[in-house]
Symmetry: C2
Subunit: 242 residues, 2 copies
């Protein structure tokens, strides 16, 4: 049986209490008792081995016995900025898949052709944690509030050495595969990638991005859905820097 792994953002203290929900889950569902071992991760590279020192079903107490540091070994840093799909389920799948494959930061963009959607960031956050645990990683991607396309592009113009914007007009955009061949893989490479809504970015948005040092790239001839494009780019980067 694989080890029990809980998420606990603050692992600085040697002793702490779990929430009522977690305490109930641990004692009533998993039948854990005083002396049993539980692993924790803080989403920032630290894993801690904890011993149950108080098994009250509403307030389990944990004593940390050991901390293990998992340094970030990825050779690249990837920030995906993407227009949310109208359908929440599609965003959630994308978040799960991108986290499994490997991503560092996600920002939702409000674009000209964006559909209005209510983003449930709390729920999204739980999906990231669950995918992180499932794929045995220890660094939680950063999830940002939705921001307007214009604000984002202007903010990032002097950050990230490699900035791309996906564009369906394949005749006017570079080929992603050719771009990849030019990316260094012997150092920490910073990448940012913009993906538009169903209906794509407008020509004005692409022009704005270009004037702020984002390069238009095509993901090929097939028209990918927004969430598919997110997973696609994530996979291509992960493989390139494998």
């Amino acid at each position: 049986m694989s080890k029990l792994l809980f998420f606990h953002p603050d692992l600085n203290n040697d002793s702490f209490f779990l929430s009522e929900e977690e305490s109930k889950h641990l004692t009533r569902v998993l039948r854990k008792k005083n002396g049993d071992t539980v692993h924790f991760m803080n989403g920032n590279g630290i894993e801690a081995i904890g011993i149950i020192t108080g098994d009250h079903s509403k307030q389990v107490q944990i004593q940390i016995s050991e901390r293990i540091e998992h340094p970030l070994t990825k050779k690249y840093k990837f920030h995906l900025a993407i227009a949310p799909t109208k359908n929440n389920e599609r965003i959630e799948w994308m978040l799960e898949k991108c986290t499994e494959i490997g991503i560092d930061e996600i920002t939702f963009l409000n674009c000209s052709n964006s559909e209005r959607s209510q983003l449930k960031l709390d729920r999204f956050s739980k999906i990231l944690i669950s995918a992180l645990k499932q794929s045995k990683q220890f660094h939680l991607p950063k999830l940002n509030e939705q921001v307007s396309f214009e604000t984002f592009v202007k903010q990032k113009q002097h950050q990230y050495s490699n900035k791309f914007i996906a564009w369906c007009e394949s005749d006017l955009a570079s080929n992603l595969n050719n771009k990849m061949a030019q990316l260094p893989i012997n150092q920490t490479t910073e990448l940012i990638f913009l993906i538009g809504p169903e209906g794509d970015f407008t020509a004005a948005e692409v022009a704005l991005a270009k004037s702020h040092y984002f390069e238009p790239v095509s993901l090929g001839k097939n028209i990918l859905r927004t969430e598919t494009a997110g997973i696609y780019v994530c996979s291509v980067f992960a493989n390139h820097f494998q």
Copy 2:
């Protein structure tokens, strides 16, 4: 508004009738009438422009006015053989995503660690057609019945110039990215890729595949779910041969 595109496997005749379901959809929901234009695809590269010559709500008659051939321009042929997940929804998402990104053939494998699952091939087929139309492609991937791992590996041992099996033991497998660098991109490259169930392939299965000319490759350090691995490999190949 984008053109109306229907799937009709046989477009050889100049005149044909639609099924009752399609006829009802066309006349009652889409309000189409005599003289209106409908596009059809046969999933084998042919698009046909049809005119409604009989608008009975149970039996619409179509007259083909023109046929357009869409040759397959992809530089590779990719056959994914994958253990179905227990959860049907995960398979369905994978089928949709792989079809959008580009795939030629899919076989479901029955492996030692496979969960028992009922595969709804009729439903899967509809998902492929829908994803094909959505991504503006004209070649439908071939979807095969489930076969045993052993049978499949033996059948394919002398087919496909590039045969891989995904293996989580990254120390014992080649790196997929290194393998990709060696693949020719100036000709039609045939690829077959085996992806195992949750719990991975057994050592015996990997050994059997190796003795039948499949090479073990690792998809990186992160442990990907089965359906994520399918989409990942599909994306990496599509980008490589873009």
